[in-house]
Amino acid sequence: MKTHIIALCLIAFAPSSSSAALKVVTTTEGLASLAREVGGDKVEVASLSRGTQDPHFVEANPNLAVKLRQADLLVDVGLDLEVGWLAPLVNQSRNPNIQPTGSRRLVASNFVRVRDVPTGPVDRSMGDLHAAGNPHFISDPRAAEAVADGMAAKLAQIDPGNKPYYEQRVVDFKRRLGDDLVRWKTVLEPLRGRKIVARHQTMSYFLAWTGLVAAGFLEPKPGITPPPSHLAEIVRIVQAQGVKAILVENYYDTRSADVVARHTGAKVVLIPGDVGGVPQADSYEHYIDALVKLISDAVR
């Protein structure tokens, strides 16, 4: 009797091999939104982190390893963004195919022209910098297109029967994004060259795309909290260059930004760090919509 009960329990938790949807697990909501765009109803997508979370400091909660156990594909950002939490989860998952070089692992940054790659010697006196380059590319739609292409190719490789479906979905997604890009450009073009101050080097890709310019960063070095001397310097820069907006992802503390705002009259703009970072950013296009609206309103 006992063995029957155990067997029934095991069957209850067994993966139903008849369910056709591929289980795609991503580390961030931005990658999850792209996987949904490309995979449509052929995939079941889950993200390990939330868009409201600082992706550098996600908890390595073992229940996330359970999500990875039966993943058909793991998509991570790479460039050491998830270095503090992903490896133990992958190890606990027992899923050999999603290991760093496994056949069901897709590193999204492999498809992106990476910015801020250090060219000289690197050590931690430079702060907690990303030694392999800047992983915060999700705010550049051109990077998102490249990642979507990579996902479509990978999904087609895993699930060759639906190759035309994925290819069509990525074409549709890129066409919609193309229309959006025209729309966003009309808003952003007149603002080219306007200056902002950012908290962390999370905005490099967005700035490169929009032509906005970072006059300075609240952090003197990545991950290092600004001392008063640095904030005083930022206040001077903001005043001298007429900076109107201080951009801070809404998972960061705003005390330093508030100080600079108080001394200069510049506005602190809380921006979503990723898809899902604010309620209206419920898809990739809506996330960029929200970013473009918040930032263009502030610098205009």
Binding site: T3, A14, S49, F57, E59, D72, N91, R94
Partner: protein, 407 residues
């Protein structure tokens, strides 16, 4: 019983979808069996779904123009992750801890402000091959150098098994499996030092861990190791078992519950049995760096079949066939990325019998992710009524590529 095997096979099928290039899984399996027969071998059960040459790192979409002379960094790419974690303390104790309250962690002679170099941990970690990874931790201290842990971990055994083999900390309790540089408090709770081991309870052997096919994390460990318990110099063969489970409690909290047991052969028909329970609750809003972590462990030890003469060697002094118990509860409030505060209460069997109680307060400053400065002040009350304050100022740093720690 057959039901169980069939169901297990169903549950563990890691690759339900994805027929490759039009072949059904049955056709693929048949071909695999045919090839295996031709080669005179059994089909390989491990690493399913991993086609040869698949690297998961597709080359960028643009054409690769090649590179003259290949990569000059190849040797560097193949280097394991190397890291060093160093720790030193300034200790002050009112009591003569060595005689009255035996422990392994930093302490000073009575009424002396004592600088102490605690440990340098050298970590060397890498994937060995497609089937396993290796983690090596060497500890250098004033007493010399030792291999703290050095073990192989399988990456893709079927049925959600994972085996670690080599020299490893025993899967008993929560704190015992962690390296001291991940402890919130500076020192190990007295109960763990005296009932488990003065250092982490560990040694050569293997640990087989099975991840249950439940929607929450439930991991069952069964280990067989040679362990040095308490303050003993020689090791005994031991069987260890642990069930660890984690539950998400709402959006912001995770609860960990563990039970552990171990049985060690003391020779001549004598046994040492250990039983432990641990709880861990972490409350952290997803959008915040602040959190509250509550943690507690209870450990009981029973010696049976020892003669009075054998028991004399035991420290703390024990009843040859008695049961001793102890434990701790602690709360840590990580206020921001930079500051954390904690409080801990402990109960441990005293050196001369009877319960020893200690309370500690902790303040931590973390200038960055890679170093921390801690001040721990404790009040220790011995069974006879003797008591005294103790203080530890502790600095710790980490350099190099050090793997992330499990939750």
């Amino acid at each position: 019983m057959h039901w169980l095997i069939v169901a297990s096979l169903l549950a563990a099928n890691p690759d339900p979808a994805a027929p490759s290039e039009g072949a059904t899984p049955e056709e693929k399996k048949k071909l695999e069996e045919e090839i295996a027969k031709e080669l005179g071998a059994q089909p390989q059960p491990t690493a399913p779904g991993q086609p040869a040459g698949a690297t998961g790192r597709p080359s960028p979409p643009q054409a690769d123009p090649g590179q003259l002379g290949g990569s000059p960094f190849a040797r560097l790419l193949l280097l394991p992750d190397i890291s060093a974690v160093g720790s030193a303390a300034l200790a002050w104790n009112r009591l003569d801890v060595e005689a009255l309250s035996p422990r392994g962690d930093p302490f000073a002679p009575a009424h002396t402000l004592q600088p102490i170099f605690q440990e340098l941990e050298l970590g060397v970690q890498a994937v060995v091959d497609p089937y396993a990874r290796a983690d090596v931790f060497l500890a250098f201290s004033e007493e010399g150098a030792e291999v703290e842990e050095a073990y192989l971990t399988t990456l893709g055994l079927p049925f959600w098994f994972q085996v670690r083999a080599g020299k490893l900390f025993a899967p008993f309790g929560r704190l015992n499996q962690q390296h001291p540089h991940t402890f919130d408090f500076v020192d190990r709770p007295l109960a763990l030092a005296r009932l488990l081991s003065v250092e982490s309870l560990g040694g050569p052997g293997l640990d087989v861990a099975w991840l249950a096919p439940t929607p929450w994390f439930a991991e069952l460990h069964l280990g067989y190791q040679a362990l040095k318990p308490g303050f003993e110099e020689s090791s005994r063969n031991a069987g260890v078992a642990r069930l660890a489970q984690f539950f998400d409690v709402g959006e912001a909290s995770t609860l960990g519950v563990g039970v552990s047991a171990a049985r060690m052969d003391e020779g001549s028909g004598a046994w040492r049995d250990l039983l432990g329970g641990d709880l861990y609750l972490k409350i952290r809003s997803p959008r915040s760096r602040s959190y509250l972590a509550l943690q507690g462990e209870v450990v009981a030890r029973r010696l049976s079949g020892l003669t009075v003469a054998e028991a004399e060697g035991e420290e703390p002094a024990v009843d040859p066939n008695g049961t001793e118990w102890g434990g701790y509860v602690q709360a840590v409030w990580r206020q921001s990325s930079f500051f954390a505060y904690g409080a801990r209460y402990e109960r441990a069997p005293g050196a001369a019998g009877g319960p020893e109680n200690r309370v500690s307060a902790l303040a931590t400053w973390l200038p960055s992710e890679f170093q921390r400065l801690r001040l721990q002040v404790s009040y220790d009350r011995l069974p006879g009524g003797q008591d005294g304050l103790e203080a530890l100022l502790h600095v710790e740093f980490s350099i190099g590529a050090h793997g992330a720690h499990p939750f």
